[in-house]
Symmetry: C3
Subunit: 451 residues, 3 copies
């Protein structure tokens, strides 16, 4: 199953070591504790029982951070174990590239919007959440190329994608003042279209040689449901993790909760409706039921209302199942986009929907509805700098910018990943753990037996 | 495996769409953000570092909410995957009916005890926890009928059960002033006896045709342990999620923790003791070890002491194993109650035990023990309206009312579910995913192979 | 597979009942609610919206507690399911001995450093975390003897180990003023060397009779990854769970996060580098990637900086993989230490590394770096009682003491566990669930089929 190029013995260790050593040096030079993590800046008067060590942001963000963390490592990792012979790689490569990405993202995001006057990047729980967010975007792209890349290719992809993610995020959030707390644009749309372009460039005309392994078995579908359910449960924490404290965080979590619930109903309905015998399809349940979280990523913090959230989730589920059923085969046949996990249906279209919902919500909800709370959601409107209609326009432009950077970036990175030295698997060895993992023959047999 | 009646192609989508559209309309008309989720009501003076955005209830309830959420979707969902051919349905139907129930519960609970003077239902994190609680009750009933119902029957059951749950909860908590923070009565006793009545009415005399599938295989038992362990770990959060802030929440979590630990010891002891060869039975470990959480559901917030909690848990484990071993076969043979998951042993009897413990604790702990904190646990006693003995009587009466509503309600709903149009599986196609799910023949074979 | 001695029908129930009854009695006599869990001590003026029910420690510790709880029951439990025929025992015995240990630890830790002037042990969320920590140590030792002991042996081991853990912890934290918030010494080094001595004494020269079962199959490795990933994600919560409030807790979590990320990169690198064909080994990924958490256990709360944390994690990953690859076979062949899970590589050496890093960090970081925050990290230095160099010496001595107590304790307890009445499995029945668990023949067959 292996050939010389897929032998990672020198390539992978050297790459990991070099990357980690660079990271360590850059952290040594650039990164310092922020106000809430540094011992020196501790205000002696803060005492827990009669005031405000509770003011440390740790207590407002850390539970959300851990929920996001579970989504990144368990959620994404296990969602992708649905493939019958690719469980080690799904969880294991997810683990590897996430561990790299969160470190690199700390630097890139810090460089673009965290540098303080002292020229240092100050970090704490909020930067940890943002690093995990950026990592999520890389993992979405991983879903598009799942089963067809070496760990080395994935590491290289992660380095570039994190960088471009930080650029796009900087343009949107810092320059344009776009609102996108849950990342419908910055995370989902960006990650999906970046990954789709990469997989387009890496198109394999003879991939049908591995076709029989590009499917699930009974147990692998159950493992994947662990990922699905964790993503579903913690999505309210994801969308609300970096909103302003207080009602915006509370409201975002609640909007997302109802969007997801409505999405689940429409997903089941559509899955049954689009099957000739009315049977439910695990692919839809595992993926489309999450589209409601993606689609609430921009407007979740706004006064979308639970009612509005449910409509958004309801539509997202419908669009997503239709995408899996009818659009994905077309994308593969006509546009040569082999999208293993269907990220276009879970992150791409619902991300665009979310961006549009965000722009529309910004436009149609009068600012009076926000009262005093306006500055927490639309600070530029509250300060009188812009009108809500202008904000809506900015939201729409941001979607276009995100798509442009993602598509153009994915194109370039796709070509880089074609370098033969990176050790991609042969066409007949895709979706197969044994190329990069020790899987003893006995284990392999047992596995075949259960196919 | 399918016949025309079990084909869900039109029935399931139509039902899901109609239900979701009704929900969306009712949310649009009736539901608004509460004080802590509405932007307008934000007090500009709240600033995180020198006071009280930290006062937003989000920060006191949301971590508990997420723990409860995990119990509902992972805990219940995976606990039921113990069946060898019913994993998709266990996790998948659990997911579907929970997503419906939490929306419907928001309305029903809001209607009964959340309506404000403006005629609207005000929602926030506390209503989300209560909606999840109500959902838990539906999932307990699902456990009783597991493997023998169509998704359509389950949706219909959920709609009725949520409604009756809200009625019972209203009578207990709002009219009678019953204390039942962790829901020994409102959630566990109600859900169990409701489900037992439903399964009684749906009695299948020829169910032995599916007998060989009504059991576990090695891997399915491991998947089920994921559910068990999550339920066990987060039960302290469940029982304390809606108690008063401060010491009651803290105390409830701790009481439950010790109750569960003691219950685990007695469960292992009884499981070994009741086996002729002393071997442990996974069914007991998966279920009875949780009975300590159920039994601490009412008294957990009271001054039960860790010592008292451990006695309660210890007894609950013993009762539950004995139920699985000796009572369940009798219930099936004599009373024609086919209780797939043994919810009578995990939720029914321990729920009643919990209700009794609550009444006794209310009666025997002098109110002086509560000091200033009395109003948080027994507000009606603190206000002088009633004595502790009267409160104890109320607790006992509440158990009787709960049983009556659950049994009568389950009876009616059971008859409704007998409608042939709802597409129940045939007697020889119970406990079988392939009736309602795409399970390719290859997958099916592999599955048989591993049986 | 069973013989009379492994029949647990009387032994296990009697032991469980006696232990639990003793626990209940001792709790009744000795244990009371602490200030934050007792209703009576509630300060009526505390109101959630304009002050300080939020001052209840529950809100600062409980989310961390639940993360630790998940590590203990899911993390350790599933990490050990990697064995092909030992999943029930891995999760199930983990569950049993953890439930016992946390109760016994409450008493032992309370006795040694929680007794108040009233002669009672006052408990709350912090004691719950500490009880879980002590339990973690027992589970590490369980990893060393995994597959070779009866549940009865494990219960006996737990009783003794918890006691010795509390003694060692008392000497370190209370007498010497050692800093070890995340337990590199008290938990990991102690648990590992204790377990290694026990397994040394229980050495089985004919263990190769069960050799074929001392390995994983495809699915069991995926179950184990659930444990790994949860341990990895929540380790920041583990190390920070009992540090001082505010910046120390925040900083510890962040240091651990970066240590783990760097450790993951070096683990993958070394796993590939040490394989002749460059393929990754699941054993390394499942274990060595966690060494960064262990190694940050002592210094995590200090001003280690993210940069320093990453170096520590990077080294820990390298050491751990090298241990699995080269040292473990030597330990087994030369020192007759049969270390099933390789706890020496995950907890032993990284624990020692963590202790050394703690001593060095205490020595080299000038106290000025801590500013006002010094008293939260090094109270004895802040009070002027000792210099940082003296603190560093104390840290080093503490490692020696821990090793001495662990090794000597493990030696004694190992001999106690050799009592034939405790029902250890025969040499040809190790790593085998069916000795102590109901596993029907059909299930057993299926399992063999998938081997």
């Amino acid at each position: 199953m292996t050939n010389s190029s897929t032998n990672m013995r020198l390539k992978l260790p050297i790459t990991c070591f070099i990357l980690e050593i660079i990271l360590i040096i850059l952290f040594g030079v650039l990164v310092v504790y922020d106000h809430d993590t540094d011992a020196k800046l501790f205000n002696k008067n803060m005492k827990i029982n009669n005031s405000t060590a509770g003011g440390n942001d740790f207590y407002y963000r850390y539970p959300s951070f851990q929920d996001v963390h579970v989504m990144i490592f368990i959620g994404f990792g296990f969602l992708m174990t649905f493939l019958q012979r690719y469980g080690f790689s799904s969880v294991g490569f997810n683990f590897l590239i996430a561990a790299l990405s969160l470190q690199w993202a700390t630097l890139m995001q810090g460089f673009f919007h965290g540098l303080h006057e002292d020229g240092k990047i100050h970090i704490g729980v909020e930067s940890m959440i943002n690093a995990d967010f950026c990592t999520g975007s890389v993992l979405i792209s991983f879903g598009a190329v799942l089963g067809k890349t070496s760990p080395l290719q994935l590491l290289i992809m992660a380095v570039f994608e994190v960088t471009l993610f930080a650029v796009n995020e900087y343009i949107l959030l810092s320059i344009l003042g776009t609102r996108d707390a849950g990342g419908s644009m910055t995370i989902h749309t960006f990650g999906a279209y970046f990954g789709l372009m990469v997989t387009r460039i890496l198109y394999r005309p003879r991939l049908e040689q591995s076709k029989h392994k590009n499917s699930s078995v009974y147990h692998s579908d159950l493992f994947a449901m662990i990922g699905t359910i964790y993503l579903w449960m913690f999505w309210p924490s994801f969308n609300s993790a970096v909103t302003a404290h207080g009602d915006p965080q509370h409201r975002t979590a609640m909007n997302t909760y109802y969007s997801l619930a409505a999405c689940t109903l429409s997903t089941y309905a559509m899955s049954s409706l689009t099957a000739h015998d009315g049977k439910l399809d695990m692919v839809h349940i595992q993926n489309a039921a999450l589209a409601g979280g993606v689609a609430a990523g921009t407007a979740g913090e706004m006064m979308l209302t639970p009612f509005g959230s449910m409509i958004v989730g309801f539509l997202a589920g419908i669009i997503s199942v239709l995408g899996f059923k009818y659009l994905s085969p077309i994308l593969e046949a006509k546009l040569k986009i082999q999208d293993t996990c269907g990220v276009h249906n879970l992150h791409g279209m619902p991300g665009i929907l979310g961006a549009i919902v965000g722009a529309v919500t910004a436009a149609v909800v009068p600012k009076e509805v926000y009262g005093n709370g306006l500055e927490k959601v639309f600070p530029d409107v509250a300060s009188g700098e812009r009108e809500t209609s202008f904000q809506a326009g900015i939201q729409a432009i941001s979607l276009a910018i995100t798509l442009a950077i993602a598509i153009f970036g994915g194109l370039i990175v796709g070509f880089i990943l074609k370098l033969p030295v990176l050790g991609a698997p042969r066409d007949n060895a895709c979706y197969e753990d044994s190329v990069y993992w020790e899987v003893s023959l006995i284990k392999q047999d047992s596995w075949s037996q259960t196919v």
